[in-house]
Symmetry: D2
Subunit: 288 residues, 4 copies
């Protein structure tokens, strides 16, 4: 039996994901705010919907993959929103990183349309999306997870089912604060040794031999040295995720002192940036 | 020609280092504040000096390996201090982590006794010290480094010569802030997901599959889960090193916001601890 | 010509404000989530509305005074919300502290009902509300401000008109971060001298003679000494306002390092509190 | 009986203090690193010593008033240092702000020369020093305090005796973190409203009517508005005092999150400044 897939959001992550499903032979209906981005997907066989509602109405499994909570609310709600078109018995899978509170709200709204909801934020970047090697951090009913697993298997190498609605997003926010602080740590260490007049390569040589080495630092360190911040994971999104992590922690009354300090640093760089930059650009917080 | 070695400081790192040199056949004269700790080294062939000066007077290469700047000043200065006994033409090698300012002062003081100085802080912990797999971050003249390299080769797998006096300590402080912030990041993420009611193992499973994975986290995460903080690298020393990093950065006028926030967290845990704990115990900052 | 007043929100600040308008002879229609709180106002002559819409429908000037942005959205929106009942030509005055973004949205929504909007957050606490000595920080059209000024004059001693919609809330958030950091500063200083074994009264004696003295500290210091945190301005609201200030600053890309650090401290105290406490309870962050 | 006074340190605070004692008729022997600064004091009747030892040898009460701990150690220790000349039975009064640890050390060193020691850091600035309206925060024996009180009465309007050695400095550091955070709070609030496009005067108008008003802010706010940071209390000294406060708090294990965040801000401004500026220049942390 054919599974009809809908895909809303064709950004740096969403588009290669949708492409893999088209290439895997699924009938895919896509929608994107800027429809021009759908061009090559349509050439490859996808159908273009006029609005999110229409994409939903055509789908057994509807994916959303957008940049932040307001963008998700925009594509879901309103007369042309996806919720209005959601089929009874279908599954809504959201790959965006949003707050656990919003994830739980969407689950309730989907249920009111007779649909199941799985939150499924991802890590792995554009590269992982293209190769089908993303990591999925899902939250929702186990049965829902089982149901979409065959489709997710085309997209990710690791599919974690972490618990009920909200758990996927909460773990994702925890993971992203680790990334943000690791990159911040490298930037602070480079600023320190740079301030002391030492070539940054020396710190990196030592780091490479150390237990502090991390794959993410292997990738971000050369960007900092070259001052080339072509976005792989944009700073504006990392800044947004740190905001979501702090929103959650402050609701819970759990202090996160280093995350809070780091967020202000990302904020300053975001405020001064005139172009879209990778989050490794937090190094710009220091003039030298 | 026999190289006579002196060794001052038989702590968690210093003692296994000295032991390796005894086992390698060097004549080793040792001194430690608590002389009882020298017992098995003496049984293995080391000679016990009555004070640091006597240890220095017997040595072509004198090592110091103590816990902090005041301890280093104590063993070096004063009538029975090592500087008073330092042979002309000898080399003083300090493996402690201290400020670059103090390293540069000691270099001047050693030179006034006709001795060379190499700062040589290490990473790798007790395990690395026992196996001879430490990493040395040295600063001083290249010729001094070359001269002691054959001895250091018994102790470390990587010997970095980073530049003139002060550079070894500066890079060491940069490295340690990376470690401290990585461990802080993990602790904050665990506090966040814990506060959200999610089992910590779930975050760790995801981390293990991610680019944020780091060897130091592989080691510290189980300690946090078990609440077992038997010291490998004591929190009081990491807290001291963060203080040294901030002392340096504040002299330079380089802001380190996340390091500063993290140091307060380590400080709170140190203030509440009634026993010696590993720096992974920063997790205790959060009651749950 | 009689001005009919509506009042939504009878909390620590709102209720004494509404009472002053009743006592001044205005016909007042009130609504509160917990209608029991309206009892004595009704006895004093106020009329109780069945829902916010009904209160709006009866009013030339409708006040809202609730605790946070979701509470404001709740009373304004939906079929029984105040917006649905708003009279064309009336004025909506919101005395809550919310984000400037929300204030601007509400202005647009009110305009779509033919009504004017004035944001009018206040400072001065319950005491100021009772005495009519509040300070109003308003934003909106100057003409709107002029129109409601005669009514506000019964409630406040200082009526600032700060500019267009959003400015009142922005200045309010700036003011509240000053209060929060002043109280945090006192708490940190007391924790420091307390940790050093010095009686807190000694610091307070010196403070009283110094240029650092501030009226808010004269009020909060005795609360900290007595450990009596009966809420005058509840910590949960100050914590919320710090969150709003940081939400705004992060949208703008303006780093606020001390505010961010302080918010985490308030968060920890909120998370541990089992009762409603004044924001002076930030002192509880330190066990001694 | 004539009391011979010595005075070491003729900076922004020390010189007007010494001048008042000369004018009050005391025989005063002065010393300053830059002897040119002593010119007008000598014209007014003071005697110029060749070194600190000589100043001490001539004095019943010897004052020191220098900028930081190393400067104090410099004038006290060594063959020409003040300790070497201290008369048995004399009193050493230090008006510098240093660590409580150093204050306790100096007390021991003075005692070994048969002299008493009173730590006596001051607040009030150059203006207070000229008018004799400083506030003294003293620590030491009550009898020592009583003995020097008649001389201090020429210099200060408030003389606090806070307890044994160390207490004066500890309270001083607590006070200065309050000042630093109040000024930081104002700078953050101005950066926030400025970022939101609001004229800073509007915030200041509101502040002037509020309970957050503080005399120090009345003085620093116009400096921030004008961008004129002619030093009254230099930022480099406030930065040093924040460092001393954090050194103390970290020794005690008392976390000071906002102080730590603020210190990094002052550090960044210090690092970027090319001239001596008042600590109100922390406002420069934000480009606008």
């Amino acid at each position: 039996m054919t599974v009809n897939v809908g895909w809303i959001g064709l950004g740096l992550i969403g588009k290669p994901m949708a492409r893999r499903l088209v290439d895997a032979g699924y009938p895919v209906t896509v929608w994107n705010r800027t429809s021009a981005k759908a061009g090559d997907l349509v050439s490859a066989g996808a159908r273009l919907a006029a609005n999110p509602r229409e994409a939903a109405a055509a789908s057994d499994i509807l994916f959303t993959c957008v940049s932040d909570p307001p963008a998700l609310e925009d594509v879901l709600r309103g007369p042309d929103g996806a919720l209005a078109g959601l089929r009874a018995g279908s599954v809504l899978v959201d790959c965006s990183t949003v707050s656990p509170v919003l994830a739980r709200q969407v689950a309730v709204e989907a249920a009111s349309h007779g649909a199941e909801f799985l939150e499924a934020p991802v890590t792995g970047g554009t590269w992982g999306a293209e190769k089908g090697e993303l990591v999925f951090l899902t939250g929702g009913e186990a049965a829902t997870f089982d149901r979409v697993q065959p489709v997710l298997a085309h997209l990710g190498k690791k599919l974690f089912h972490l618990g009920p609605h909200g758990t996927g997003q909460s773990v994702k926010l925890g993971m992203n604060l680790i990334y943000a602080l690791e990159v911040q740590a490298l930037a602070e260490a480079l600023a320190l040794v740079g301030g002391a007049g030492i070539a940054p390569e020396k710190l990196l040589d030592v780091l490479a031999s150390s237990m502090g080495r991390a794959p993410v630092l292997d990738i971000k360190a050369p960007m900092m040295l070259a001052g080339d911040y072509t976005p792989s994971f944009p700073l504006r999104l990392m800044h947004k995720d740190l905001g979501l992590a702090l929103e959650l922690s402050n609701q819970l009354g759990v202090p996160l002192p280093a995350t809070a300090a780091s967020r202000e640093t990302y904020s300053a760089v975001k405020g001064a940036a005139t172009e879209d930059v990778d989050y490794a650009a937090v190094r710009r917080f220091w003039p030298r």
